[in-house]
């Protein structure tokens, strides 16, 4: 498997087929005496910004920390073991409604969408 070709930037689906974003980054762990291995997939604007360059990454980290709290400085991490199937899309064995990923959508719904009767 080629990580960049087959995993990075692919569509993520939860166990109900709900779209959860695209895979924005991968976390590789390199340990002495072992092959490097992927432990987590990463999601969020912070990872995307880091891919564009370290300065860009730091700027977006600051913005995220200021508006969303200090924990937003780091991307959302999903353990590799949660991957259920790898095809053109990547399916996870989790329910997106219970993941922090839905926080922003829920916030938007409470603040805006619901007010317009959506």
């Amino acid at each position: 498997m080629d990580l960049v070709r087959d995993i990075l930037d692919k569509q993520l689906l939860d166990q109900n087929g709900v779209k959860m974003g695209k895979i924005d980054g991968l976390l590789l762990v390199v340990e002495a005496g072992r092959q490097p291995h992927v432990t987590h997939i990463q999601l969020g604007a912070v990872v995307l910004a880091r891919r564009l360059g370290s300065l860009c990454g730091r700027i977006v980290e600051e913005i995220a920390a200021r508006f969303g709290g200090e924990e937003r400085r780091h991307p959302i991490m999903i353990p590799w073991s949660k991957i259920a199937d790898i095809g053109v899309d990547i399916e996870l064995a989790i329910d997106s409604r219970k993941s922090p990923l839905s926080d922003v959508a829920n916030w938007l719904n409470r603040k805006i969408t619901a007010r317009f009767g959506g």
């Binding site: 930037d9 569509q11 974003g21 564009l52 053109v88 719904n109 969408t113």
Partner: protein, 405 residues
């Protein structure tokens, strides 16, 4: 047979390509300024966009992915940002022009200034999207859009010299105003090959849940749908050549000259038909552009999207088009000249063509997405030709913008 009813997707797409504010103005300008000489540009644009639309429909039907999805997935985020940013800007400029177009149509109909109409028009577009379904929008726009066929009737009733019309299908250089001729040609091609059209079409195919059983239908819809737009575009050009040129009007520098174009044929009804055509075509294009803005952002970031979902199920998608529409009403409300906004948006589109088309070379040959339905040599040759054409358009747009207009 039932599948053929989905031609509405093709008709909506082609209204966005050939009949919205910019394309209609350019087709009329072409006829008034150069008689039948520029028919070839509309014909060539029709063939190119039909090829691209067929491919994006095939891509969506086989892979259940849209073109925007696949650009991010296949080329990665960093590359994706380039066509993403370009299309976002171009779509926004075009939407400003379309909202201006609807407002102008309402001004001609009611006598109330288009600046007043900007906000109500934005609200109308938004409500249709917020409450409507994809099928409702697609069927509604394509049914109402048939009114633009009045240009075809007019073109026939004006009894143009058919031999000269036929000669117009062959590219020739004009005896005068070469810069302006090229500028209009580039605008026509840029407006008809614009990336948002095939991106929208692939999203529409996913909205309509096409699968591999739609491949033949898709081919027919791409051909017939784009021919509809191309035919009406050519008819508008012929009408302008027969009406404006003999009356000494060679410059369509303002929309105010447009509403009378059918009067010699239909009398007062001509005015009503042109104004309704302008309003409906611009409304169709506004809906298409707003949706495409939502699709592009949602697909680029992997969010949920779908016009048939309630907005709470895809807030990112719904709020993207909401925000876009709100901001796009501003130029009209602030009193920007609709013709200038239109010309600016049309030349921006021409700049974005190569960025949108190059990915086709890779996507349409990737077995992971299209399997055995990948492009044959004809398809690939067509894409290569359009990429080359796109580069020419992008390179000559800026200098022509300065000297031609």
């Amino acid at each position: 047979m039932k599948k053929l009813l989905e031609i509405s997707l093709g008709i909506v797409t082609s209204i966005g390509g050939f009949l919205e504010a910019g394309s209609l103005a350019t087709a009329l300008q072409a006829g008034a300024g150069f008689r039948f000489d520029l028919i070839w540009a509309i014909a060539l644009g029709t063939i190119c966009i039909a090829f691209l639309v067929e491919m994006s429909g095939r891509f969506a039907a086989v892979s259940r992915h849209t073109i925007a999805d696949a650009i991010r997935e296949r080329f990665g985020f960093n590359f994706f940002l380039i066509p993403f940013a370009a299309t976002l800007v171009v779509n926004f400029a075009l939407l400003c022009a379309e909202i201006g177009g609807i407002s102008l149509a309402l001004q001609y109909a009611t006598g109330v200034s288009c600046r007043i109409w900007g906000l109500p028009v934005g609200a109308l577009v938004w409500v249709l999207l917020w409450k409507g379904t994809f099928g409702f929008i697609e069927k509604g726009v394509s049914m109402l859009g048939l009114i633009t066929l009045c240009f075809v009737v007019a073109a026939f009733m004006l009894k143009p010299p058919w031999r000269e019309v036929a000669t117009g299908f062959l590219p020739t250089l004009p005896g005068h105003d070469l810069g302006k001729y090229l500028f209009v040609a580039v605008s026509i091609l840029g407006a008809s090959i614009s990336p948002y059209l095939f991106m929208f079409y692939s999203s529409g195919a996913v909205e309509d849940e096409w699968d591999e059983s739609y491949l033949v239908t898709n081919r027919l819809i791409a051909g017939l749908g784009m021919s509809f737009g191309g035919l009406v575009g050519i008819a508008a050009l012929v009408t302008a050549a027969m009406v404006f040129l003999p009356r000494g009007i060679t410059e369509i520098d303002s929309f105010d000259k447009v509403p009378v174009v059918l009067n010699p044929v239909f009398g007062l009804w001509g005015f009503i038909l042109v104004v309704s055509s302008l309003g409906i075509a611009c409304l169709g294009a506004s809906l298409e552009l707003s949706l495409q803005q939502g699709y592009l952002v949602a697909q680029g970031f992997g969010w949920n999207w779908g016009e048939d979902l309630p907005p709470r199920a895809d807030p990112g998608f719904s709020l993207t088009y909401t925000f876009t529409i709100a901001v796009a009403t501003l130029p009209t409300v602030l009193g920007a000249d609709p013709m200038r906004v239109t010309l600016l948006s049309t030349s921006l589109t021409a700049l974005s063509v190569p960025l949108g088309v190059i990915p086709f070379l890779f996507l349409m040959n990737d077995p992971k997405y299209v399997g055995e339905h990948r492009n044959g040599w004809i398809g690939n040759a067509a894409v290569l030709f359009i990429v080359a054409l796109g580069f020419v358009l992008a390179l000559v747009t800026l200098p022509l913008q300065m000297f031609g207009s």
